[in-house]
């Protein structure tokens, strides 16, 4: 159990450092590679939590498809030495930094307060870690919920994805005058 906690802490730390690298890098490609690292770290955390299906979807869709789209468009636009023109003003950086710190401190305080007290009895659902093992694993339980309770939403979301796909092709091919 102790090595499990150590591994979780290590992955959280590496993911946070990669997110900071993303914030401070100016080149789009190094930013994209840091984002890839963040997504892989998130997928590893999902796997450690026992949510294997979400971890696989994260790897295939986020770290696969979306990152390929980003890197492909960086390649397509072929932006070379424009890095020095993208800096925003000092005041803006300082104000954004202070606001961000305030939001992070408030969120962390709220989370600490939440996790220091035990949740009320009615809030806990029926799919605890042991129950999911008994019911046949995370993928089985998740797909059962997806294809019974949330069936209409699933069909709607696949339709929305199709519309977005066609829309993206139409937008990219179109010539505006």
């Amino acid at each position: 159990m102790d090595s499990f906690n150590l591994l979780t802490g290590l992955i959280c730390g590496v993911t946070a450092v990669l997110a900071l690298l993303m914030l401070f890098s100016e080149q789009p490609l190094s930013c994209a590679l840091s984002l890839l690292g963040v997504l892989l770290g998130t997928a590893a955390l999902y796997g450690l939590m026992g949510e294997h299906f979400i971890a696989t979807v994260q790897l295939v869709v986020y770290a696969g498809a979306i990152m390929v789209l980003f890197i492909f468009s960086i390649m397509l636009l072929n932006l070379k030495h424009q890095a020095d023109h993208y800096n925003s003003g000092k005041i803006r950086l300082v104000v954004a930094g202070v606001l961000g710190m305030a939001v992070f401190i408030l969120l962390t305080a709220a989370l600490m307060g939440y996790f220091s007290s035990t949740p009320q009895e009615g809030i806990r659902g029926q799919f605890g870690r042991g129950e999911i093992q008994q019911l046949g694993g995370n993928s089985l339980v998740l797909s059962h919920a997806l294809f019974t309770q949330h069936y209409i939403s699933f069909e709607m979301i696949s339709l929305a994805l199709l519309v977005a796909l066609v829309g993206a092709v139409v937008l990219a091919k179109r010539k505006f005058d």
Partner: protein, 98 residues
Amino acid sequence: MDLKVQVLAAFLFVVGLLIILTKKNTIILLMGIELLLNAANLSLVGFSNYLGHIDGQVQVIFTITIAAAESAIGLSILVNLYRNFGSIKTDKAVTLKG
């Protein structure tokens, strides 16, 4: 474990927010939006795991689908932006500014 994951999700959210507030490169802005969505997903999965629900994970599958659609549309808008203004800096796209 649960607290660590939630604090990491809050941190990723704040970093994504800072990227959107400070960067002027449109590709990096889109990456910041992806980071925000990813942080929200991490928080949803963490709480659904902690409280023993499955609905949070169903919601995460929907969010990942919408994120894929959003990045495809966003990047094709980006290609058009580059074609029309010759740059992907946000300051160049000021045609609608009164």
